[in-house]
């Protein structure tokens, strides 16, 4: 096993991408993800890769599309306003069945918003990353170690299902340092890409990467086939961590940095005799529907904790479907909820049930 080191989330994620065999990075600076692009700019030229600071976010995502179409593992990173600019490219990647990893180190919006941490891009990542009928794999790390581990998974699953994957991080996880063990470079297994539009010396038919299907029946069939793939992913790839949910009256649902804070609140609540637990989604799409359903039986109330005005709570309400009370607590605009605030919400709920 490699040595445990102290690393910033942004740098650890960059290093993990390199370990996953990503040698092509296209980016544009924005706080709070700058350490990621800076790290790539230092490292990639040394290992025969390409680091390119594009003229804009739009250019960067289209370079990722080109690199992926040519058959290499490619990545871009940005923060919320920059991800909005990439939405056209994200839709084209999905429409072209191309894998790529897109990192969003979320900051507060809307507009330029602020540079402090936020989780207000949940809807964007899971619902509206761009125009058209499509889904993206969405991973939600909650530690620096997960910034590393899930980056490897994002590349692997993106390749497996030929679709883009989002690493939905935030300013806390990007900026903080935590102990982390890096994977060894040798573990990167990059599958063959027989579909890639790369040079082949006229030995086969040309591969064409395109998202344009001008005949409606053809396009409908392509989209339906893609949704069959999505259905399979929803069946097989849901991931979450459960903490003290077995006997919990109140189940918190929280991801990323909010999940860390909620876990502390659960511990504090247990000391006061409140049976609280936590479901921490690790994949936001596919959302861990099965885990939520399995807790409807014993939970009296669900509480979603987010750094937003309430976005993931929609998904939880859809799953719970009126069978239980689903509450929400959040801070927004770059404010970070404290464990004490979440504990206060748990006490309020406890008083009512």
């Amino acid at each position: 096993m490699s040595e445990k080191v102290l690393m910033k989330g942004n740098e650890a994620l960059a290093e993990a991408a390199i370990a996953a065999g990503c040698k092509h990075f296209f980016g544009y600076p924005i706080t709070p993800q700058n350490e990621l692009t800076a790290h790539m700019s230092k490292r990639l030229p040394k290992i025969g890769g390409t680091y390119l600071q594009a003229e804009s976010e739009v250019a960067a995502i289209n370079m990722v599309l080109g690199a992926s179409a040519a058959g290499v593992r490619a990545m871009t990173s940005s923060s919320s306003p920059g991800i909005s600019l990439k939405s056209e490219g994200l839709s084209y990647l999905a429409g072209s069945d191309l894998p790529a990893v897109i990192v969003n180190v979320q900051r507060a919006g809307p507009g330029l918003g602020g540079i402090q941490p936020s989780q207000a891009d949940y809807w964007q990542a899971t619902r509206a990353a761009g125009h058209g009928d499509f889904k993206l794999l969405v991973f939600a790390p909650s530690t620096v170690q997960e910034m590393v581990d899930l980056t490897g998974d994002a590349f692997a699953l993106g390749d497996k299902y030929r679709m883009p994957a989002i690493m939905l991080s935030d300013g806390i996880l990007g900026q903080m340092m935590e102990p982390v063990v890096m994977p060894k470079d040798s573990i990167a297994r990059i599958p063959e890409r027989p579909w890639a539009a790369c040079g082949h010396g006229d030995k086969r038919e040309h591969n064409v990467i395109n998202s344009l299907y001008i005949e409606p029946p053809v396009l409908e069939a392509v989209i339906k086939a893609r949704f069959e793939k999505y259905r399979l992913i929803e069946e097989k790839e849901q991931r979450c961590e459960e903490y003290l949910t077995d006997d919990a009256d109140i189940v918190i649902v929280a991801y990323g940095a909010s999940a860390r804070i909620s876990r502390s609140a659960v511990n504090a609540a247990r000391k006061e005799g409140i049976k609280a637990g936590l479901i921490r989604p690790i994949t936001l799409w596919p959302f861990p529907t099965k885990a939520i359903i399995s807790r409807i039986g014993n939970a009296k109330t669900f509480l979603c904790v987010e750094m937003s005005m309430g976005q993931m709570v929609d998904d939880v309400r859809l799953i719970v479907n009126g069978k239980r009370d689903v509450r929400f607590f959040g801070r927004t605009g770059g404010m970070v909820p404290t464990p004490a605030e979440v504990l206060g919400e748990l006490k309020k709920i406890k008083g009512g049930i």
Partner: protein
């Protein structure tokens, strides 16, 4: 070991580095640790602050809003965070920069003229390490062996020649007080 530490001062005083030393040492000692800098506009020319958690269990919020220990290296930092310190907590003030006294009576305060002590010993700019030495003396946040290793590993290879001076500044802090 369980400690929520908040370090605050001017940009350039080595606040973030000090936090890194504590976090590295704690990690090497087998504890869970986190380090979170302020990265807002206040960094540029104003105050810098840094949250460090050292814990024997997984760390929830890495943002320290109620510190057990506050290291205040300028007056705005003391004014901003004095009331956030938990009752029974500790504030270490660089008294060669901050000429005001801590108002609270329910916490312990140490006034250490770290900037002057560093300068008097030919270690200009190393007040942060003098403060770190005193912090170690007061809290023993890890074993002494791991503390030294933590300092060594926190210094980038390019600046390895500064290790000796850092250690000298830490020693001054550790030997300060009674």
């Amino acid at each position: 070991m369980n400690m929520n530490l908040l370090l605050a001062g001017f940009g350039g005083q080595g606040i973030l580095f000090t936090g890194k030393v504590v976090a590295y040492s704690g990690m090497l000692d087998g504890d869970e640790v986190s380090w979170l800098p302020s990265y807002g506009p206040e960094m540029r020319g104003g105050t810098a602050n840094c949250s460090v958690c050292v814990s024997d269990s997984p760390i929830g919020s890495p943002l320290v809003t109620a510190p057990d220990v506050l290291i205040a290296m300028n007056l705005p930092s003391l004014q901003k965070f004095e009331n956030a310190v938990v009752p029974g907590g500790l504030i270490i003030v660089d008294s060669s920069i901050v000429d005001e006294k801590v108002k609270r009576k329910d916490i312990r305060t140490i006034y250490l003229p770290a900037t002057r002590l560093a300068a008097d010993n030919g270690l200009k700019g190393m007040a942060n390490m003098v403060m770190t030495g005193r912090l170690y003396k007061e809290t023993k946040f890890c074993s002494e062996e791991k503390f030294i290793e933590g300092v060594t590993k926190s210094i980038p290879a390019k600046k390895a020649d500064l290790l000796e001076k850092n250690m000298a500044a830490i020693k001054i802090g550790m030997e300060s007080g009674e």
